[in-house]
């Protein structure tokens, strides 16, 4: 990769150790992805916020970094481990709470917008079509490329952090127009066309595809299903983008047999002790739809509903918070199903969720079993 003289001297430490470190990361990614130069990016979305995922190593690293580092471009952040307003109810240990607050403080000190959301594409105004951004958080990167007409690679927590500090990213892979064209089409041959099916399809597609994949035979792909597709895809593979409709090249069917195979992998329980909705977090549109579906009904068990703080005001103004509370739902802001310490295997054996991504991490990381049901099924079977 060619660096300008200025970039070269920053790499050599002329502008301090923090920027040198950021450039070392950019150079490694550039080498890994065969980039020939760095290009400006306008927005970085960072993962690596939840203390559950980054641990003491991450907390200490960010605390050190924040002593002198400042983000150079618009920077938003992923969910953290809990909602500060309700954390006292969950009996988390004090150390967890303190370390999480320290992480939050470090990001804010460096200039991050405290969004704590995995759906930046839904709560922020989007830059113009074709703008280069740097999104870690796999569902957000895929959504940005496939739906929001932005350009990003499937960034890592550190590559997006390096972009936030420098305003740059290696020009490679999905940042280049010619690499965005898929050479594999996955034909959807399954019903129902709901968010669970799309999540399973995404998980299947992510395993098969390279950087980009075409999906044909879709119907009823609303925002909820689209988010589910992106989240499933981001979990299982390295694919960072999808297009709709058949493309030239290899074809593969996603039929009932494949769907059952994916579901068998992720669905480890017939039922669950609690319900979680939101991975990715629910936006206002989904909350409004949920409120409508719950009219005259209430949950049979505890239901956690994960949302970005950005829509809290609207939720309150529209009275949705009261409606959901009446139905036995609990809204949690700033956090998400994935990797939350609020779902603890000491108290919970299994979780009901419609999120394929949630299912993967609940099992892999929280070590609890999962019963995968579509929202439709959850309303039918888990409410009265």
């Amino acid at each position: 990769m060619e660096l300008t003289r200025e970039e070269e001297s920053t790499l050599d430490g002329k502008h301090g150790e923090t920027l040198a470190l950021a450039y070392r990361i950019l150079v490694a990614i550039g080498e890994a992805t065969d980039a020939d130069k760095l290009v400006p990016v306008e927005w970085a979305h960072l993962s690596g916020v939840n203390y559950n995922t980054i641990g003491d190593a991450g907390e200490e690293f960010l605390s050190r970094l924040s002593k002198d580092a400042k983000f150079k471009i618009k920077t938003t952040v992923n969910p953290m481990g809990f909602d500060s307003d309700s954390v006292s109810k969950f009996h988390l240990d004090e150390e967890f709470v303190a370390k999480q607050q320290s992480i939050k403080k470090s990001y804010v000190k460096m200039g991050a917008i405290p969004s704590f959301s995995c759906i930046p594409y839904e709560i922020f105004e989007l830059p113009k079509n074709g703008t280069q951004v740097s999104f870690a958080e796999s569902n957000a990167a895929i959504y940005a490329n496939s739906v929001s007409a932005l350009k990003t690679n499937k960034e890592s927590a550190f590559s997006a952090l390096a972009s936030a500090l420098t305003g740059k990213s290696p020009y490679s892979d999905l940042r280049e127009e010619e690499n965005r064209k898929p050479n594999l089409t996955i034909r959807m041959k399954t019903e129902p066309a709901d968010e669970l099916t799309y999540g399973l399809l995404g998980y299947f597609a992510g395993k098969q595809a390279g950087s980009s994949v075409a999906i044909s035979g879709t119907k009823g792909l609303d925002r909820r299903s689209c988010k589910s597709l992106c989240a499933g895809m981001g979990t299982s593979g390295s694919c960072g983008m999808f297009t709709l409709g058949e493309e030239e090249g290899e074809k593969m069917d996603f039929d009932y047999k494949e769907m059952a195979r994916v579901k068998d992998e992720l669905n480890t329980s017939e039922s669950g002790d609690i319900i979680t909705l939101g991975s990715p977090q629910l936006g206002l549109e989904e909350i409004s739809d949920l409120v409508a579906k719950l009219k005259g009904r209430s949950f049979r068990k505890q239901c956690m509903i994960f949302c970005p703080r950005a829509i809290q005001g609207q939720i309150r103004n529209l009275g949705y918070d009261k409606e959901l509370a009446r139905a036995g739902g609990e809204i949690l802001y700033d956090c998400c199903t994935c990797l939350t310490p609020l779902v603890d295997k000491e108290n919970i054996d299994a979780v009901v969720t419609n999120s394929v991504k949630g299912a993967y991490y609940l099992k892999a990381s929280n070590d609890v079993d999962v019963s995968l049901k579509s929202l439709h099924q959850i309303i039918e079977e888990e409410t009265k």
């Binding site: 870690a136 590559s159 892999a364």
Partner: protein
Amino acid sequence: MNVKVVVRGKVRGAVLCAQKPVNFLGGIDKKTGRVRDEKHDLFGKFIGNKILVFPNGIGSSVGAYTIYSLKYNQSAPLAIVCLKADITTASGCAISNIPLVVAEKKDYESLKDGQEILVDAIEGKIL
């Protein structure tokens, strides 16, 4: 064999080969380096102080922090050899000073479990 250098360094150690891609977040215990994904072919093994050989990283972007945590907890691989260096693995290794190289398919396939090798991620060679 000649390899492409992604993160520089030089280290000798025993090879541990994974057949399947690795999702560092959730797949590997960040404190002990034990593979905790039951469906992975390395399930139950420890990746620390080995030359870890795997096709590529998959899944969560936060896996880069898992690599950094492994180093912090002294449970990190000595070096990583892969077929395709993904962004998560490359950035995690860069920040943790873990040498990372990419091998050609036929060279990659010749690496065997337990084999002692020298990864020279300065000259771009495995001996």
